[in-house]
Structure formats: structure tokens, C-alpha cells
């Protein structure tokens, strides 16, 4: 293999599994260390800069970082990254003075953002410090998008939402709440320099073809509409017996909400086997902890009505068969299951829809009526019109909406300044030695070998009676420290300098997880197979040195490195060094003051 090119920042970035997996590339280990030090405000600011909604995401994030976390490969469970984020938000001090300055003198460019969900709010946050005149148009009376109207308040307290949405609006965003856009042309005619469409995927799917659907309409509710009605207090009750159809997160929110509205029995039914359910594991756990049964392999066959009222739902039992990796659901022939009920909540997916966008504006749509959006710039085929969040490619989640927002803001800025949209700013990176003494590092390499900490929950007897009582209580300060110490500090890179190595093997001998090898070079597959412990995880890179004096090369498998620094402590010549790699994804505007004097959270 060729010598690894570590001057390409993506090499070390990839080693930081959590940050690499985070759509917004939040510098996770950096904020986890700050939490361990009790520097919650600084940890909050790192998050706020990257993901805009630390308090919201610390409770609700889909957390793609956690399945990626290296700790999950050396021990059972990953670091509770998401819960730690919440700790930063819950314990932070005053941050007003750390917020970017919004220029009083505007730059003369006007930008419209349609829909006030996380995608649009991120665009607003990123553009306001540059002096843009930003107008946010939303049909609901308040901002927040699905975060407000679909995520129930027992998962996300309204106060947290109000604070984090308000922080952005307070930058001086012009809001036009309560205004539904029915014509994009009309918006364009207002003469904005750029328009961002962040209207989400607002249309819930239905099961129109199931017999009895129309007759039972009065008692069948689309999940997302039901949740919105509850959030805005239009609905405050539900029938005693409720069936929820669907296996995603919306279904989980629906069933738990129904329970809190006074239903005596709530049953979730899913067409597919349980293992294929779309809902996150922790959301399923939360629903089951509240005593809600989840019946898998139940496909709705008929809605039974009596005297114009829904009486029951009939289900056909299914089983899954996999042909060439593709799943087919086949009826088992077992007797149908009849579940009597008063109301049905249907949570079988959502989609984006744009009846209000005229098709003669130069915005191309594909055969499924989806807009053609550039994956990098987020611009549609009409210059100056951008899409992001769920509106771009269908339902995702908040952190993706934020990541889209950052990129769209960069594009909007480039567009308004008449610059090439491909000319995107690189991330800010930094690589600094952590050496303080012969065996001393400026990070704590003495990690904990304890199992993942469990987050405490509110008393269910109380929580189930109160729609707005938060169920998860979050870690206390001690639990947060214990959990933070589980982080392996994957951003503290093992950096190897070929010409300092005397091949004494000390690093190879000490490494607790057999990462390091001195061996004859070969092609990658051969090299992977021949290591002390074969490198079977192909998603993880091999770090290969140049030729050493004996003709061998150093090969390090990054897969399960603990970043313990023992290799560097054992190296007599300093060929190994532990260096902190900090990567901050580019934003349209520098969010944190550039002056180092004003950078209170520079952790070096």
C-alpha cells in the first residue's frame, strides 16, 4: 500500500467515528472532554456552532454518531453522546455575550425562507451574522416546524424549544408567521435575492385502499396531523381503545400521546417483523416501558364499522421472506386477528408535496413530483431557489435538516455575492501535539472501563398523566462525568513520523488492542489478512508508513484504537505523538469570534 497521506484532513477526520457520522460534523470528543472538565458553557457553544439546537438535539437527535462510536466496537455499548449533549445544554451558563454580532448595517440582500423548521432556522442563523435581511414565512403561529407540532412535549419541553428557536429569531429575523404560501411565484415576485424552501414533508400517507377506510373516516386520524392537533391543543381527548398502525418513530409518539390523552388500551401494529421496524431502538424501548404492546407481522385488512362508527380493525398475519436480500411479506394463513377499538392513528409514512410551486418557474421535478436538487449546493434548477431539510429528499430528521441548512446558507451567500457555488470554503482544521511531559498529555487518557450509564426516568405514574412532563430526566453532573470518561478521545490522533522510528517494537508490544504492526508491505487485502489481528472491518482505514530501515512498514489498523497514548509513551524517539485533530465544518459566517482572546473555549 502507499504511504498514508495524513495531510488530507479527511484521513484523521474519519478516525473520529462519531464526528464523521454526524451530518453536521459536530466535534463530539472535544465537547465530551469539556463536559468532563465541567465546562458546560464551552461544550454548549461547540454544539451550538455545529448543530444549532443542542438542547433540542440533546433530547431528540436520531444520533447516527452512536452506532458509529468506536466504544461500541470494543465494548457492548457506545458512549451516550446524545445525552451528554443535553448535559451541556442543561448546565450551561450565560451565553448571550458569546453569540455572534449581528451587523446593524445590512448587506442589502434579501432572503426568504419558507417554513420555519430546523432547516430554515439554520439558514437564518448562519446568514444573519453576515448582514442578510432574512424573512421567515410559516403557516403555523410559531416557529419550530415539526419540532414543535410533531415531537411531543414529554420528549421535548416547549421551554427548550422556545429558547433555542427564539435565540435565532432574536437576531432580528423578520417573521411572517401564520401565512401559508400558496404560490412560489408570488414569493419570487417580492424580489428576494434568494429563496429557501424548507417546508418539510408535511403530507401523511394513508391506507386508502383498505376496505372500510372511508366509512370509518371519522375515527381514523393521520398520525402527524393528530400530533399537531395535540400540540396546538385542538385535540385533548381520544377514544378508550386505540390502535396505532405503523412501526416508525411517529407511531411511537402517537401511541405514547394517546396514552396520555386518557386511552385505556393502546396497541401498536406493524406489518413487518419487529427487527425491520423503522423506529429507533430507544423509542421502541420507551413505548414498551409504558406498557404498550407492539404486535409485529400484522397487516391491516379491513376497518369494521357499525352504525357508522369504527368498531374494530382486522389484521392478516404475515411473515417475511427474503429473496436476494429483498423482503417480501407473505400471509401466513393463520386466522385473522380482530382488535376492537374506538380510534385508529395511522403512522405509515410521510412525503413532501409541492402543490404550491408552479411548474413553469424553471424548477424541475422528477416523475415522482420531487424537485431536482443538487446534493452539494442544495440549489434547484432555478438559480436562487434552494431546498433543504425534509423538503429536499423526503423525511429525515433534525440533524440532517441542520446539515442541509449550513450548506444551503453557504450556497445562498455565494449566490448573492455572485460567486461560484462550487467554490466552497474548506473546513477549519487543526492538529496539535498533546505532549506535556514524558508521560503526560493534556488529555485524560485514563478512560473508564465501566458500562454505559442509564439515564433516569420520571415516575411513570405521574408521567403518564401529564402530556408535558418530560420522561427522560437527563444525567446529573456525576453521571455525566462517569459517562464522559467512557469516551476514547478518538480525535487525539496517533501520528507517526517514519524517520524517527528505530523499529524497537515497543509500541507494538504495549498496544492493548493490537493495532500496531511492523511487517512487509503488500497490497491492501493481503496486508489486512496478515496483521497480528486481521483487519476485518473494511470501513476502517489502515495507517501505513513509508519504508523503514529494515525494509518493513508500520501498519496501524485504526479500527479499535483506544487512543490511550501508550504507544507514544513507550516510543523512545517520539516517532509516535498524540495530536489533537480539531475539525470545524465551514459555515457561511464564522459563528464564534475569530479573535483567540475572545475564544474562551479554546481547550488547548
Amino acid at each position: 500500500m502507499d504511504r498514508t497521506d495524513t495531510s488530507d484532513p479527511s484521513y484523521f477526520h474519519k478516525v473520529v467515528d462519531c464526528q464523521w457520522a454526524c451530518p453536521a460534523h459536530t466535534p463530539v470528543p472535544e465537547y465530551i472532554r469539556l463536559i468532563a472538565h465541567g465546562q458546560y458553557t464551552e461544550a454548549f457553544m461547540i454544539n451550538w456552532e455545529s448543530n444549532v439546537f443542542p438542547g433540542i438535539l440533546g433530547r431528540t437527535c436520531d444520533r447516527p454518531c452512536e452506532p458509529a462510536c468506536r466504544r461500541g466496537r470494543i465494548e457492548e455499548k457506545p458512549v451516550a453522546i446524545c445525552r451528554l449533549k443535553r448535559v451541556a445544554a442543561d448546565n450551561r451558563g450565560v451565553v448571550d455575550h458569546l453569540m455572534p454580532q449581528i451587523p446593524a448595517q445590512k448587506n442589502g440582500k434579501r432572503v426568504a425562507l419558507i417554513g420555519a423548521g430546523p432547516a430554515s432556522l439554520t439558514v437564518a442563523r448562519d446568514l444573519m451574522p453576515l448582514g442578510y435581511d432574512v424573512t421567515l414565512i410559516e403557516r403555523d403561529p410559531q416557529g419550530g416546524g415539526l419540532m414543535r407540532k410533531n415531537i411531543p412535549s414529554f420528549r421535548l419541553p416547549v421551554a427548550v424549544l422556545d429558547e433555542e428557536v427564539g435565540r435565532i429569531l432574536d437576531f432580528g429575523v423578520t417573521t411572517r408567521f401564520g401565512e401559508e404560501i400558496t404560490s412560489l411565484k408570488a414569493v419570487l415576485d417580492e424580489g428576494f435575492d434568494a429563496v429557501f424552501v424548507g417546508t418539510g414533508a408535511p403530507r401523511g400517507k394513508d391506507l386508502a385502499r383498505v376496505p372500510g377506510r372511508a366509512e370509518a373516516d371519522a375515527n381514523i386520524h393521520l398520525g402527524i396531523d393528530f400530533l399537531a392537533s395535540v400540540a396546538f391543543k385542538h385535540v385533548e381527548r381520544i377514544g378508550k381503545r386505540v390502535v396505532v398502525i405503523g412501526g416508525g418513530n411517529t407511531a411511537m409518539d402517537c401511541c405514547r400521546t394517546a396514552l396520555r390523552l386518557g386511552a385505556d388500551s393502546v396497541t401498536v401494529t406493524v406489518r413487518s417483523p419487529r427487527a425491520d421496524m423503522k423506529a429507533s431502538d430507544w423509542e421502541i424501548e420507551d413505548a414498551e416501558r409504558e406498557g404498550i404492546p407492539i404486535l409485529d407481522n400484522h397487516s391491516p385488512k379491513e376497518f369494521v364499522t357499525e352504525n357508522g362508527r369504527l368498531k374494530a380493525v382486522v389484521f392478516e398475519k404475515m411473515r417475511a421472506e427474503y429473496v436476494d436480500g429483498r423482503r417480501k411479506l407473505i400471509p401466513t394463513g393463520a386466522p385473522d386477528v380482530v382488535i376492537e377499538c374506538d380510534d385508529v392513528l395511522m403512522a405509515v409514512g410521510q412525503e413532501n408535496s409541492f402543490p404550491w410551486i408552479e411548474r413553469d418557474l424553471g424548477i424541475a421535478f422528477n416523475e415522482w413530483e420531487e424537485p431536482a436538487v443538487d446534493k452539494e449546493t442544495f440549489m434547484s434548477t432555478r438559480p436562487g431557489v434552494f431546498f433543504g431539510g425534509d423538503a429536499a429528499w423526503g423525511p429525515e430528521n433534525i440533524i440532517w435538516a441542520v446539515a442541509h441548512g449550513h450548506q444551503a446558507a453557504i450556497s445562498i451567500d455565494l449566490h448573492c455575492q455572485d460567486r461560484d457555488l462550487q467554490d466552497r470554503p474548506p473546513p477549519e482544521t487543526n492538529l496539535v501535539s498533546q505532549k506535556m511531559g514524558i508521560h503526560e498529555w493534556s488529555y485524560d487518557n485514563d478512560i473508564s472501563d465501566e458500562a454505559r450509564n442509564l439515564v433516569p426516568h420520571a415516575d411513570p405514574a405521574l408521567a403518564l398523566r401529564d402530556l408535558s412532563m418530560e420522561v427522560e430526566l437527563g444525567f446529573d453532573v456525576q453521571q455525566a462525568l462517569d459517562e464522559a470518561m467512557r469516551c476514547l478521545n478518538c480525535d487525539i490522533q496517533t501520528v507517526f513520523t517514519d524517520d524517527k522510528c528505530i523499529e524497537c517494537d515497543a509500541c507494538m508490544d504495549i498496544c492493548p488492542v493490537d493495532c500496531i504492526n511492523f511487517t512487509q508491505n503488500a497490497e491492501e487485502p493481503e496486508l489486512r489478512d496478515g496483521l497480528r489481528v486481521p483487519a476485518l472491518n473494511h470501513a476502517q482505514d489502515l495507517y501505513v508508513s513509508g519504508d523503514l530501515p529494515t525494509g518493513r512498514v508500520m501498519v496501524k489498523d485504526e479500527d479499535v484504537c483506544l487512543h490511550c497514548g501508550l504507544c507514544a509513551e513507550r516510543c523512545p524517539t517520539g516517532a509516535w505523538d498524540m495530536q489533537k485533530f480539531l475539525l470545524k465544518e465551514a459555515k457561511a459566517a464564522p459563528i464564534v469570534p475569530a479573535d483567540p482572546q475572545e475564544q474562551p473555549y479554546a481547550a488547548e
Partner: protein, 351 residues
Amino acid sequence: MTHILKPKFRHPNLPKNGVGLTRRDYEGVVSTLCAGCGHDSVTAAIIEACFEMELPAHRVAKMSGIGCSSKTTNYFLNRSHGFNSVHGRMPSVTTGANLANRGLVYLGVSGDGDTASIGLGQFAHAVRRRLNMLYICENNGTYGLTKGQFSATNDRASKNRKGLDSPFDSIDLCNVAIELGAGFVARAFSGDKAQLVPLIIAGLKYRGFALIDVISPCVTFNNHTSSTKSYDYVRDHNHMVGRLDLVPEAREITAESAPGVTQNVTMHDGSQMALSAVSEDYDPTDPETAMPELARFKRQGRVATGLLYLDERQEDLHDLIGTAPGPLNEVPAEELCPGSDALEAINAAHR
């Protein structure tokens, strides 16, 4: 030396040997030696050898004297027996232990000071008594622990760190051992585990006295350019006399499976050792030719490594003096104390 304990985490796919143990199960406490010390590599090679041999740790006795090298018995086989003797006295303590319990595997680790200076007399007698043990001398040409004085194995040509010459000729432990009747004599380099690990396995299996003189650089006091025991010098002057492959009992050695094999040796546990000459026709089983060859390499400044000498007889002290067949702690009480009639008979014989 490190300030943290070595994390307990292991590679999830770490291989296990036939008795279900991983390499890490053969570790000891974390080394406190200087970073880069050759002795730590020898420790790693011992761990690897014991792992491959599937040795049960409780059947091993780790013996040592004083010195950085002698400290290393603490860094492997945490669950073995051990004795850290006074300086240079490891051979006698091992002799006593071995006579009392011949059932254990004796692994001695010593240094060039511990062996060739203060312990030379002790060493000589353990060799000539063919004590059944593997004696590893971690040879760095210096007294590392006491801050770098010349040791007796330091070559005349080698200067110390401050540039001073050694006034005395060096002792070549391998020559001394062959001369005194050792059965298995090898030299190796701590920086070459591919060669060292099989030698350790063979040495542990050998019945009789086995010596491995491992050149093991002291990075702190004897790794400068004017030293003949530095990483660079040994790499540049290494002259491998032969390769040693270990062949499990079951597999027959054929010319095909091991090209260039010149000797097959059966160990007392039934496994085979295949020796192949690498250059020149060096025959380790023939002392008549081996000794002059070794002297020639030395004159040329070459560091001859590999299995230098092998006595295929494999007899040990117990065979020579006809001791009890098993460990003394297994001798039944009635044999240990045969009664007054037996005592009477012995006394009568002396009257």
C-alpha cells in the same frame, strides 16, 4: 514506564490458543522500564512463545536476579511461580527449586551483569550441571539499572556513552556455555521476534540447560553510534547462521515442506525442530566445526545469531544424578518416612 494502567480492553477478535487463552492472558504488570528498552521486546517474545505453546501459567517458574532485565519476570505470566533472587544468584536458587520440583518449567531471565559479572560462577555451575531450564540473558553490554557502567560482555571495540574505551576483553556467554557443556545455545536479537520466538519455544522444550543470549539494546545507556549493542549496529552486523522451524508432532518433515532443511531434531515432548542453514554450512550439532566458526564470525565483527549449538542427547541434572522420578511434593508420606526399621538399616550400614 507509563502513568496509566494498561487498559483492560482487548481486541474483540484477539486469537485464542487451544486452552482458550489470548496473548494478553500471558501478560504481567505493565513494564516500568525505559521506553524502547530491548528487554520489553524480549518480554513480548516470551508472552508470544508461551501463548503459542499453550503453557498453563501455574506450571511455570520465573526466576531472576537483579537488573532491569531481571525485573522483567514481573511483566509476563502474572499467574506463574516466581523468585527474584539476589544479584547473580538466580542459578543456585533455580537449582534448588528444580531439584525439589522437577515438574515445573523453569524460565530464568537475567542480564549480562547478573550473569557474566557477579553471577559468572553460579552460571558456570548451572551450565555444567545441565540444569533443566531456559536461561535467557538479556545482554545490553551494560549495567542498565545502575546507570550504564561497562559490563563484562561489552566488546573492546565498543565505547561507552561518554566515549570511553573498555580496557578489558569481553566474555562471550555462548562460547562459555558451549565450553562448559550446555546442550542448547542460541543468540538472538530483541528486535527480531520472528527469530526469537521459535528459539524460546525450542529452549523451553529442550531437556537440559538451554541458553539464549539475546542482544537487547539499552536505549538509555548503550544505544549510541559507538556501541556494538545498539539497534543499528546489531541490525547492520547480524549474521544468521541458520533458521529454526518448529514442527508439531503430527506433521512429518519432508524436503518439500521445509526446503533447505539440513537437520531434524526430535524434542523430548515428541515435537520436531527443523534446522536449515542460511549461509555457509554451519552445523550446530558439531562442536568441532561450530566453535572455530563462531570465533571467526567474532573476529570479523559479525553478530552470529540463531541456534549456535545443540547437543541432541538432552540429558539433565536429574538424569545425571539419578534423583527421584517426580516432584518431591508428590512423594507419598510412607516413602518420605519409611519408618524406624528402614532407619535402623541405614544406621546399621554405617556402623
